[in-house]
Structure formats: structure tokens, C-alpha cells
């Protein structure tokens, strides 16, 4: 396994180059690039500029683990507005294009949102159809679309069984699960998601979570080993399904002081997780 961290974790005011230096120094193998979430990687960023990002990544001695985006929170495939859905598709297309340039084979997509306005049974077929439409493009580019489980935030595909049915309905080898072991909260157990989804997992986002909400201020998320995830079980499940891909740190809560220290601490925690010494 290899470890990565998102470029959206780079401390405020730091340049991409400074961030890459920190990522490398902290011991990561790669970096996850977030389309639309950082100033250096936007929808309007040209191919030439993306190639320049790749050069910077390579110069730092890193590789790109995957291309993620938070833009689908604003432009979900579940929207009633066809223009919003068209934009959602354009975002995925750009992710696929940039993934190819950046030399990675995986993208992260938050596929749909259930809201008070758009009910589950309406969101579901739209999301299935959208993934069916985009899958051939991803396949052609040699890229896998990893639909992320944002269980509590999305209110969609809340259990591994639902997610499995969703992927079965999409029915395309280029669409899988970008599993976030911190997003399951108190709706289930990360290790069971890993066991059930096994080879369909494209990448794993790693963070910890407080399952009893309201105990940790404004966020239920915390640093690896500080929350309620069963890390021994997660590690065993990873071994069981022979997952040997990227572990991508996604730290939602940031250090209030010495923000760079979080990179070192998280890298050390990932090393312990990979080693199995828990």
C-alpha cells in the first residue's frame, strides 16, 4: 500500500510547491489533487497548467494518487435542474481528462444528494443513469470513477448493501467505490464495507470519526486512532480483501497550531496502520 494526502490539506497561505515539499518530507508517496477546491486546480485550469502541476509533483518526488472534487456538492447528479446535471457531468469529464494528464487511474465523485426537496427515489435513477453515461468515457481513458460514501452528509447509499445494489445497477467495471472509512459514522462499520465491496474499492480515504455525536464540537471527525473506528478490524479487512492500493489521508479537523505537524502525525499513523502494529 501507498500513502497520500490531499492538496486541500496544505496550510492556508502556503503555495502548491511548499505544500508538495511538506508532503514529501512527511513521508507520503503521493498527493490527491482536488479539482475546484484549491486555487491552483480549477475547472478553468488549462491542460498546459495541469501538466505544470504534474511536473511540480514529479519534481517533489511524488505521484498523483487520484483526482477528487468537492464541486458535486454544488452540482449534484441528483438535481432536478438539467443544467446542474450537465455541469456535474462536465466536472467528471474534466476529472477524467486531468487524471489522464496527471498519470493517475482514479477519480472521486460524490454522485448525488438526497435533500428535503429531492427525495431518495428520485435521486437514485438519475445517479445510476449519470454513471452509466460517463462510465464508457472513463473506461476509454483507463480511469475508474470512485463514487464516495458520504453517508450522513449525502443521505444517500447509506449501507454497503445499498451501495452494492447501486454499483450493480450501474453495471460497469469502470465505476466503483471510493471508500471513506471515516464517513460511516454510526450507520455501520467500515470493516464490513471493505469486506463487502472488496475489489470494487478504487481508493480509501482515511480519517477517524466519533460515533457518538456531539462529543467533539463542530465536527465528528478526528485524527486517525483518536476516534471510534475499529482500526484493527479495518486493517484485517483490508488484508482479507487484498486491497493494496492508496490510503489517502483526509483530515477534516485541522491543527490549530503548527499545521504542518498534522502531516507528520498523520503519516506516522498511516505507517502504523499499514504495518498492522495496532
Amino acid at each position: 500500500m501507498k500513502k497520500a494526502i490531499g492538496d486541500n490539506e496544505i496550510p492556508k497561505g502556503w503555495s502548491f510547491e511548499q505544500g508538495l515539499e511538506l508532503v514529501k518530507k512527511a513521508g507520503y508517496d503521493g498527493i490527491e489533487l482536488w479539482l475546484g477546491d484549491v486555487e491552483w486546480f480549477q475547472m478553468k485550469t488549462t491542460d498546459a497548467e495541469v501538466r505544470n502541476l504534474l511536473r511540480q509533483v514529479q519534481n517533489a518526488g511524488l505521484v498523483v494518487s487520484n483526482v477528487s472534487t468537492g464541486l458535486h456538492w454544488r452540482y449534484p447528479f441528483s438535481a432536478r435542474d438539467p443544467q446542474t446535471r450537465a455541469m456535474a457531468a462536465r466536472i467528471v469529464e474534466r476529472q477524467i481528462e486531468t487524471a489522464r494528464i496527471l498519470g493517475t487511474d482514479a477519480i472521486l465523485v460524490v454522485v448525488g444528494l438526497v435533500t428535503p426537496e429531492v427525495p431518495y427515489n428520485e435521486a437514485y435513477p438519475r445517479c445510476v443513469e449519470a454513471m452509466q453515461q460517463l462510465a464508457p468515457q472513463a473506461q476509454k481513458a483507463g480511469v475508474k470513477i470512485g463514487c464516495e460514501n458520504c453517508n450522513s452528509e449525502q443521505k444517500f447509499l447509506l449501507s454497503p448493501r445499498e451501495f452494492e445494489l447501486f454499483l450493480n445497477d450501474v453495471n460497469h467495471p469502470s465505476v466503483g467505490l471510493h471508500l471513506d472509512v471515516g464517513n460511516i459514522h454510526d450507520t455501520g462499520f467500515a470493516e464490513q464495507w471493505i469486506e463487502m465491496m472488496g475489489p470494487r474499492i478504487t481508493r480509501i480515504h482515511v480519517k477517524d470519526v466519533m460515533k457518538k455525536r456531539g462529543r467533539c464540537g463542530d465536527s465528528v471527525y478526528t485524527n486517525i486512532f483518536l476516534g471510534d473506528n475499529n482500526w484493527q478490524a479495518i486493517r484485517q479487512a483490508i488484508t482479507k480483501v487484498h486491497y493494496d492500493g492508496w490510503l489517502v489521508a483526509e483530515m477534516e479537523r485541522r491543527y490549530h497550531y503548527a499545521p504542518d505537524q498534522q502531516f507528520y502525525d498523520t503519516a506516522a499513523a498511516l505507517d502504523r496502520l499499514m504495518s498492522g502494529r495496532l
Binding site: P82, Q83, R85, A86
Partner: protein, 232 residues
């Protein structure tokens, strides 16, 4: 969410209408044999495709054969459904009127709430002058903070009384006979009127997408509509 005609068409260039389940291009002879005709006025539109697919699924579940035709096409079905209707041409209104006069039940779901104001106004003018149906400006049902309030269900009153989900924006509809065919939060958004030997049903909030989402009440309403006593 107002769309120009071009945007409406291009909204789903990636989703050709011919991929809709059950879509078939029928010959003129075929077109006369179907229980229902679905009217598609757009070459390719994400909005219409979704609304239309709901009716296709529902008709298939009732084992009722249907075909998809263009406005003005040959159709002798007892039920004609025009989902996401743009009604931008006088000829469309004349055709709808002629189908109803001949004895069909014509269900029109207006897409006006999702069109630019100019297109809404044109549709309202045509509907009033040719069909006697008055359309009011689009109203958004989900304003900021709505999440904490009641769901703006659409109450359909005929042929059975059911509640279905709203569809974010609604067009007020009046000019029908008797009680409104549909209403949401006190705003009439559906009208029913006899035209010759048939009936025109005009909805300002669609049922099609809810049929696609397999909403039970929407299916119950549609099943009732398809029962022979409700038609014509």
C-alpha cells in the same frame, strides 16, 4: 432554472431520447393501434426525457402499449400524454384541441416553469387563446429555509384524490371546469375541461418524474386515469 430552448435541448446531449425504455419509432399504421401516445416535442432534453420515461415505465407496468410521436403526429389512442410540453406553436394547441375533440383524453404537463419568462408568457398566451386555460407565472416552492417547513405536496383531485411530491417550481393553472385538477398550498395548478367528445387535463406540476421514481400515489393516480371509465 429557466432554460432557453437551445439549453433545454442541449441539457442532455449525452442522453439521447432514443435510449428511453420502450422508445420506438412507429409507422403510421402502428401509431393507430396504441393504447397511449406520448408526445415528444424536443429532439433531446433531459427534462422531457425524464418526465416521459416515467410515463413509459408506468404504461409498461400496466401492460399498455404506447408509442412516442411528435406534435401533430397521427394518433388514435384514447390517452395522449404530452410531458414537459413547451407549446411554442399555435399548431400544437390546435392539434391538442383536435385530439380531445375527437374523443381522446389529452394530458399536458407544462414545462413552462423551467423555461425563460418570455417562453412562459408565449405559452400562457397560446394556452389561453386556443385552449381556454390560463397559466400564471412560475412560483418556486423551495425558498431558503423551506427545509424546516411542511412539504409542498401537490393534491391531485381526479380521477382519485392523491398527494404527490412537488417539482420545485409550479405553474398556476386555471380555466378548467369544477374543482381544480390539482393544487399546491392553495394554488390551483391543474385544470380539467371537456373539449368535444374528449377531455383536456392540464398540469402545472408534473407527475411524470414521480412515476419514474415509482411514487406509489402517483402510480395509483395514473392507474386510475388509465382505467376505461376515466378516459374520454
Amino acid at each position: 432554472m429557466a432554460l432557453t430552448r437551445r439549453q433545454f435541448l442541449a441539457g442532455a446531449a449525452a442522453f439521447p431520447a432514443v435510449q428511453c425504455a420502450g422508445w420506438r419509432r412507429a409507422s403510421r399504421a402502428d401509431a393507430l393501434q396504441f393504447a397511449a401516445c406520448l408526445v415528444s416535442s424536443w429532439e433531446s432534453s433531459a427534462l422531457q426525457r425524464e418526465w416521459l420515461a416515467g410515463y413509459q415505465d408506468a404504461l409498461a407496468s400496466l401492460a399498455l402499449p404506447c408509442n412516442v410521436i411528435r406534435p401533430g403526429g397521427a394518433c388514435r389512442a384514447r390517452l395522449v400524454i404530452f410531458p414537459a410540453a413547451d407549446l411554442s406553436e399555435t399548431a400544437d394547441c390546435h392539434w391538442i384541441k383536435a385530439l380531445a375533440a375527437r374523443g381522446s383524453t389529452v394530458l399536458v404537463e407544462t414545462a413552462a416553469a423551467f423555461l425563460p419568462v418570455q417562453a412562459q408568457e408565449r405559452q400562457a398566451a397560446l394556452a389561453e387563446s386556443h385552449l381556454g386555460i390560463r397559466l400564471h407565472p412560475a412560483r418556486s416552492l423551495w425558498s431558503e429555509g423551506r427545509e424546516q417547513e411542511a412539504i409542498p405536496y401537490v393534491e391531485l383531485t381526479w380521477p382519485v384524490a392523491v398527494r404527490v411530491r412537488d417539482y420545485s417550481r409550479v405553474i398556476g393553472v386555471s380555466g378548467g371546469e369544477g374543482i381544480p385538477l390539482a393544487a399546491v398550498e392553495g394554488l390551483p395548478c391543474g385544470a380539467r375541461k371537456r373539449i368535444g367528445a374528449g377531455t383536456l387535463l392540464f398540469l402545472g406540476s408534473p407527475v411524470g418524474p414521480h412515476l419514474r421514481a415509482k411514487d406509489r400515489e402517483a402510480l395509483h393516480w395514473f392507474r386510475s386515469l388509465c382505467s376505461s371509465r376515466s378516459l374520454g
